[in-house]
């Protein structure tokens, strides 16, 4: 184990994956830029050459199809989007093609594609440079969606995504890039579809994604001083979802909050609430709550941006609402 930063963990994993398996290659817009992707691709071009580290023109729709085609022909591409907002041009290829190809042809063909995409928000970047689109992808049959919240999971999930025989949307977050964790040097797997218990508690269960896991832990720690014990679950994989870990926890606590910093309507929170409501109804003592973004595009102004993103404070007040 070495203590390393989240972004360095991604960089290390990409290097190891490309060394280990020559079917793996990196393609996408911004890969060779000194600033775009936060040091995650540093050194890869010089080590593996422009055959396998391909910075592309701004052509998201076409390049996504190209990556899918390469996957169909036996490669294991890692397709990069420097921010999620630029994926909309690629939606046709991801939904109509990557997501359906295996099913549509009766299982004869598969698309071992990793779509690595970055949430990059804040800094008054406004509506087109702030989006978190995990829910859009969980809506699509055939796509798996993972959201590592630590340097450890960043490595284990990236490895699992690349090894997966189908398309996996791997979503990280620039706000996590400097966070540190103990990470094994060798490649290892965090299985897709397994949540992780981050904190034990008996009063309320909170399931969270990605960056929000840290905010939830902060909230839980501060409420522990008041005697409220919060159980924290990191979903890690939002599709497929680890239902068991959620339901087992709710059996114990009887209260449930789901925290995901994307839009509320038909979102991750809605899906998870429905599952917990259905399968753990008899254990629930209070209604299920969710914490999300407001139902609006991201504003530029600091005064509005300051209230746009949920924080540990938002979560604390939600927990207080439930446990009182």
């Amino acid at each position: 184990m070495t203590r390393i930063q989240y972004n360095k963990s991604i960089n290390q994993t990409l290097r190891q994956l490309m060394k280990k398996d020559d079917r793996v290659f990196l393609i996408g817009q911004g890969i060779t830029s000194p600033w775009y992707v936060g040091c995650t691709t540093t050194g890869l071009l010089s080590e593996f050459g422009s055959n396998r580290v391909i910075d592309t023109p701004v052509s998201e729709n076409g390049i996504t199809g190209v990556a899918i085609g390469a996957a169909l022909a036996g490669m294991r591409p890692v397709l990069l989007f420097p921010r999620m907002d630029f994926m909309h041009y690629a939606m046709d290829q991801l939904i109509n093609h990557a997501g359906s190809w295996h099913y549509m042809f009766g299982g004869q063909l598969n698309v071992p594609l990793t779509v690595w995409t970055i949430i990059n928000r804040g800094g008054e970047q406004a509506a087109q440079h702030s989006q978190s689109l995990q829910a859009m992808f969980t809506h699509i049959p055939g796509l798996k969606v993972v959201m590592p919240s630590s340097a450890y999971d960043a490595k284990g999930l990236l490895n699992s995504a690349v090894e997966d025989d189908g398309p996996v949307i791997y979503i990280d977050d620039r706000w996590l890039y400097e966070s540190e964790d103990d990470v094994p040097e060798e490649l290892f797997n965090v299985p897709i579809g397994e949540g992780a218990l981050r904190r034990n508690g008996k009063d309320v269960t909170i399931a969270a994604t990605s960056y929000m896991v840290g905010e939830v832990i902060k909230a839980a720690d501060s409420l522990a001083d008041e005697g409220i014990e919060t159980e924290v679950i990191d979903m890690r994989s939002v599709k497929p979802l680890d239902k068991d870990i959620l339901i087992n926890s709710v059996k114990k606590t009887g209260r449930f909050i789901v925290v995901d910093a994307s839009w509320p309507s038909s979102g991750i929170g809605a899906e998870v609430s429905s599952i917990v409501g259905n399968e753990a109804f008899k254990y629930l003592k209070t209604p299920i709550m969710r914490v999300s973004l407001p139902d609006s595009p991201a504003p530029a102004s600091s005064s509005l941006e300051g209230v746009y993103y949920p924080t540990s404070k938002t979560i604390i007040s939600k927990i207080r609402e439930l446990v009182s």
């Binding site: 595009p297 530029a300 102004s301 209230v307």
Partner: protein, 329 residues
């Protein structure tokens, strides 16, 4: 097409000089304010490209539409939109041209025909085509302009938009500002054929390459293209050769990143659009040095006023966060 000669009056030349200088001085101020962390939103500065927005917008009427990109301050200013509201927008103030919701990359000023800037590469090009379609359906004589960079020609929607506009002979002018870079990537690394002008041929529309640092040349070419569009003769693609002096985003020049050379930047600064026009104005006795200086100080005052206005303006109220998600009618 028949050759039409375009004559520029002294007034027009002076107005263009003012417009270019307004853009330059505004952008230099913005660069300083970004360095001081006074302005936080990402700003893609237009310094070096002033002649293009100015020359094209000088050929337009107020009721002609302009659609723009992430690098939109110059287009906004050249279209005659309010400077105070621009600076206030960069400060995220409620008095900003997008009420503090958009920041630098999302400007709008509908009263002056500035319909908005999109920070999705090529995102606003089909919108400009759609506006032209509306003009053509309603048989008005307005013209629509799409500004975009060399990088935008990489997107599929660029081809789709030009094809449709050409097919329907829509009143639109496509203005490509070829500054040789798409973020960190040189044009030779992002286009198989870097001759953007020539791409017009596949749509069978006129494609003209022009020195984008020569405002009078840009104006002449734009005027002809706008007249052609207005007369129902269809779109033109204008490729304006230019260079951005600052980095892709922010006030620095990117030289330390090794993405481009000192020599290249120096070469293009030498060919700078404002210097060029100043020489022309002086050589022809259109403006004296002292007249230029007084224009400059007038504009400096305007920019300072806009800064004062921005600083003194209030931020949007927190409670107003959900305003404008839906149009309330």
């Amino acid at each position: 097409m028949t050759e039409r000669t375009v004559h520029l009056s002294l007034n027009q030349l002076q107005a263009m000089y003012k417009s270019m200088l307004r853009i330059r001085l505004f952008e230099e101020k913005v660069g300083d304010l970004v360095r001081k962390n006074e302005i936080i939103c990402p700003c893609h500065l237009y310094i070096g490209q002033e002649a293009i927005a100015t020359g094209v917008c000088a050929a337009l009427r107020t009721d002609d539409y302009v659609f723009s990109t992430h690098r939109s301050h110059g287009h906004y200013i050249a279209k005659g939109c309010n400077l105070d509201a621009l600076m206030a927008e960069l400060y995220g103030k409620v008095t900003g041209c997008s009420k503090g919701r958009g920041g630098s990359m999302h400007l709008s000023f509908p009263e002056m025909g500035f319909i908005g800037s999109s920070a999705i590469v090529a995102g606003s090009i089909p919108l400009a085509v759609g506006a032209a379609l509306s003009f053509s359906i309603r048989k008005t004589d307005n013209v629509s302009v799409a500004f975009f960079g060399d990088g935008a020609t990489n997107e599929g929607v660029w081809y789709e938009s030009l094809n449709f506009a050409a097919l329907k002979k829509l009143p639109i002018v496509f203005v490509c500002e070829n500054n040789l870079y798409s973020t960190h990537v040189h044009i030779s690394d992002h286009l198989a054929d870097t001759d953007i002008r020539k791409k017009a041929e596949i749509f069978r529309i006129p494609g003209i390459q022009v020195d984008g640092n020569d405002v009078t040349e840009v104006f002449k070419v734009a005027k002809k293209a706008v007249d052609t569009a207005r007369q129902g003769e269809g779109p033109t693609l204008i490729e304006c050769m230019t260079y951005r002096w600052r980095g892709h985003v922010g006030p620095n020049d990117d030289l330390n990143t090794g993405l481009r050379s000192k020599e290249e930047l120096a070469f293009w600064k030498e060919k700078g659009p404002i210097k060029r026009l100043e020489k022309k104005l002086l050589d022809n006795n259109f403006l004296s040095k002292s007249e230029m200086l007084s224009i400059r100080s007038e504009i400096e005052k305007e920019v300072d006023e806009s800064l004062k206005f921005a600083k003194n303006s209030p931020f949007p109220q927190e409670e107003s966060l959900l305003d404008y998600v839906f149009k309330v009618s």
